[in-house]
């Protein structure tokens, strides 16, 4: 499996998560989102950058609960709720956003 980015294929697993985390760049995120008919806007990027920063520091993807709490503290209480995050990422903020951010599938995520 893979995702087409600028004419070459980036390898993904059967659920669309990157096999090699180092393969990520913003173009990969855009291509993944396009496959699911989503256009990434600035609010999406805020979440993706938060996820990448969190993973870089802790070597783990946050759960939805942790993500919601952290986004609320960082970006304001009007954004720290699951309604806002599900509005951006309809398939689930952790599952879909982590995928676009190039992170592995979060623990406890089904």
């Amino acid at each position: 499996m893979g995702v087409e980015v600028n004419g070459h294929t980036v390898e993904t697993d059967e659920e669309g998560y990157l096999v090699k985390l180092d393969d990520w760049n913003p173009e990969v995120a855009k291509a993944m989102a396009a496959l699911e008919a989503l256009t990434l806007t600035e609010p999406h990027w805020e979440v993706l950058h938060f996820l990448r920063g969190y993973y870089d520091e802790y070597q783990i993807a946050p759960t939805v609960r942790v993500l919601t709490k952290a986004i609320g503290r960082k970006l304001g209480p009007d954004k720290g709720n699951s309604k806002y995050l599900y509005g951006l990422f309809p398939k689930g903020p952790a599952k879909q956003a982590c995928k676009y951010a190039g992170l592995p599938k979060p623990t406890g995520c089904r």
């Binding site: 520091e57 802790y58 070597q59 783990i60 946050p62 609960r65 942790v66 709490k69 623990t107």
Partner: protein, 138 residues
């Protein structure tokens, strides 16, 4: 969305050094899974398990994930106590300052930064283990 109160006290007991076997990484996985189910969860490090918390681990050249960084995120998973056996530290020539400082931010106290680690003796640890509903052993 109110969640039902945690019903059981879980303690994850870590007794293995981090990289020679898969126990430590699996323990962390179990901790994160348990936390996702909103249980009252704490961790204990004793015997060679204290090596898991040593600062300055660099696994880049042994081809393994640097999972000790994840301990710093335990507070995010609502872990509030990490017990470390001081006798195990002493036996290995380690002191508390050799270990990762672990903190959590207390939402109920205006996000005050508080210590996760409680230094305990083996006698205290015996009582702590005895008070649990479930012990996860690694």
């Amino acid at each position: 969305m109110p969640s039902s109160p945690p019903t059981k006290r879980f303690l994850c007991v870590n007794r293995k050094a981090p990289h020679g076997t898969g126990y430590a990484a699996e323990a962390l996985e179990a901790v994160l899974m348990t936390a996702a189910f909103d249980q009252r969860l704490s961790l204990a490090f004793l015997d060679d398990g204290v090596y898991q918390l040593v600062q300055g681990q660099d696994t880049s050249d042994i081809g393994l994930k640097h999972f000790s960084a994840t301990f710093k995120a335990l507070g995010d998973f609502d872990v509030r106590t990490v017990y470390v056996d001081v006798e195990s530290l002493e036996a290995r020539g380690l002191t508390p300052s050799d270990l990762l400082p672990l903190h959590y931010e207390d939402e109920a106290d205006d996000w005050a930064v508080k210590d996760l680690i409680q230094w305990v003796t083996r006698a205290q640890l015996a009582e702590i283990m005895d008070a649990q509903d479930v012990v996860l052993s690694f």
